[in-house]
């Protein structure tokens, strides 16, 4: 390495330090924006250093510069446009698309590097090939897997598990083909073998995500995020670049941690989720309460009375709330209650949205101050002191059946909604949640059911509270 390339590597380390500091500053909402700025600065430094290197080396052809600049500008425009226009409810899709292109770019870096090395005398170095193969494998799987995930989230592909007959056999075959071709590459440098690895991995990505249900998306997105990070780190090994190695490792760690948190929040193993088909079995224990249970129905006025004369209200939002676009209405209702001196907070289950922390962003967008957004462990002890728990669009995460063994959701950490003094559940019908089992909370004598669309119900309650208190 020359002094020049060494200095460039040091600039990359500086950029990587910015990434770490940026992520560190995200440990509180108060400093998080600065964190993003520090991280952005690191990225600018890294890109500028790379451009300096390209100019210094002077081997980039005129066509080379053109494709790089046009490609980067077009990509930036697309990225900017999607980032500016995306609805917050569609964040998981966007993150998934970024995973796809990140993983795809990482795979391309390795593919190019391999093609380039292969034409060089002496063939391919063994040590490079391990990372090349891993990069191509993981990057390609991430690319198609993320596209399918985004398609499912966007509703372009059905959100329910797609079970392909013999899917597992095909998957196994694809793994064998990919690993077999990869093994062959170690013995003989071969471009067709590499292409086989790419194709098998692309197909595997599709088949891996198709059988996974919509509500498992928080786990899938986190996992694909971890994959992308790993692919980028592998690309870093391939081209011996520390910036890629460090940044990729950071993202891999982040995705890994979030994957574990999400899987734990559903009390399901990663393998169980990846094998898919949740909600298609385990229905044997379903009809426990159907017969004798008394369901109490309630109207807007009664709900408003309960809310307006409470001293502590906990709102329990679920994805149904976001699906009905009711978050702004809820924020308005909460503000109205707060103006009466009522303590309002939100109990947010880790898997309340379609990606980790999704519900928090949706509520923040609706102007809910973040100190009111409480994590599960923080809010659960507060339920017994709450006069009203208002459940909107959440189902399985409030089901007390999770506390005893033998149900489809046994062992899943839940919000202790049933501990509240009274409970109002806003729901369109008595339909079951994702797990396909009845919610015992609804048969609780303290529970009143408010059957309506979330947005309409919230508007009615807000109007009723206003009339009530003048």
């Amino acid at each position: 390495m020359t002094t020049f390339t060494n200095s460039i590597q040091l600039v990359y380390v500086l950029a990587a330090a910015c990434f770490v500091i940026g992520l560190h500053l995200m440990n509180s909402p108060a400093t998080a924006r600065r964190g993003n700025q520090v991280s952005t600065a690191g990225m600018v430094i890294a890109v500028v250093a790379t451009l300096v290197l390209l100019i210094h080396e002077g081997t980039v052809t005129a066509v080379g510069w053109t494709v790089l600049i046009v490609g980067a500008l077009l990509g930036s425009a697309v990225g900017l446009w999607s980032a500016r226009t995306v609805q917050m409810t569609a964040m998981p899709q966007l993150v998934s698309m970024f995973n796809a292109v990140g993983g795809g770019a990482a795979a391309l870096v390795a593919i190019y590097s391999y093609i380039h090395d292969e034409s060089a005398p002496g063939g391919v170095l063994g040590s490079t090939t391990v990372f090349t193969v891993l990069d191509v494998l993981i990057g390609s799987v991430t690319f198609t897997g993320s596209l399918i995930a985004a398609g499912k989230l966007q509703g372009l592909i059905t959100g329910s598990p797609v079970m392909i007959k013999g899917g597992r056999v095909i998957n196994l075959a694809l793994i064998v083909v990919a690993l077999g071709s990869a093994a062959f590459m170690f013995t003989t440098a071969s471009l067709p073998a590499l292409l086989l690895v790419v194709l098998a991995s692309l197909a595997f990505g599709v088949l891996m995500v198709l059988p996974i249900g919509g509500a498992d998306m928080p786990v899938v997105i986190s996992l694909l995020n971890a994959f992308t990070g790993t692919a980028v780190a592998m690309a870093g090994f391939v081209i011996q670049n520390w910036a890629l190695i460090i940044a990729g490792a950071l993202v891999g760690a982040s995705g890994g941690i979030l994957t574990k948190l999400m899987a734990d929040a559903m009390n399901r193993s990663l393998a169980n989720i990846m094998l898919g088909g949740f909600g298609t079995g385990d229905t044997a224990v379903a009809a426990v309460m159907a017969g004798d249970a008394q369901i109490r129905s309630i109207a807007a006025d009664d709900a408003a009375i309960q809310l307006a004369y409470a001293s502590k209200v906990i709102i329990v939002p679920g994805y149904g709330l976001a699906a009905a676009q009711a978050q702004h209405g809820v924020a308005e209702l909460a503000a109205l209650l707060e103006a009466r001196g009522i303590e309002v907070s939100y109990a947010i289950h880790p898997v309340a949205g379609r990606m980790p922390g999704h519900m928090n962003v949706l509520l923040a967008e609706a102007n809910v101050p973040y100190p009111q957004l409480k994590e599960m462990d923080e809010i659960n002890p507060e339920f017994p002191r709450a006069d009203v728990a208002l459940v909107i669009g959440a189902n399985d995460v409030t089901n007390p059946a999770a506390r005893r063994p033998g149900t489809a959701i046994s062992g899943m950490p839940i919000l202790d909604v049933d501990q509240a003094q009274s409970i109002i559940v806003v729901k369109r019908s008595m339909g079951t949640g994702y797990a396909g089992i009845d919610n015992e909370l609804y048969a609780n004598p303290k529970t009143s059911m408010y059957f309506a669309d979330a947005k309409k119900a919230v508007a009615e309650m807000t109007a009723a509270v206003k009339t009530l208190v003048g």
Partner: protein
């Protein structure tokens, strides 16, 4: 095993550990912005895409460079912008009403519209 490889592996493992340590402290409230920030950070692959240009001298090389640069740039720019947009929404106190758009007649417009106007 070359010295360079050992160095690279050392860096990788240490970065992984730093990542676990730092990210474990991020509160659940910020998990979506965190993932989005991580997303923009893996946009560093743009550097790798640009470096393809160093040796690309034929059609295949140019095409790969173009697609990689396109993907990575979309990743990096989109990631940072959307993370910033999200983080701007997190407020300690609800924004005071005057801050909202002083739109003449449509003060009662749908909140979604207000958001799109702001951004």
């Amino acid at each position: 095993m070359s010295t360079a490889l050992v160095t690279d592996l050392t860096i990788f493992v240490l970065a992984l550990l730093v990542g676990i340590e730092v990210i474990g402290k991020v509160p659940a409230t910020l998990h979506t912005p965190l993932m989005s920030a991580a997303n923009s950070i893996h946009g560093i692959v743009l550097v790798g895409a640009l470096l393809i240009g160093l040796t690309a001298h034929d059609a295949v090389g140019y095409i790969l460079a173009f697609v990689a640069a396109f993907f990575a740039a979309a990743n990096v720019v989109g990631g940072y912008v959307v993370t910033g947009r999200m983080l701007k929404m997190f407020r300690r106190k609800a924004a005071p009403p005057p801050v909202k758009e002083p739109q003449p007649a449509e003060a009662a417009g749908a909140p979604e519209q207000r958001e799109s106007v702001r951004s």
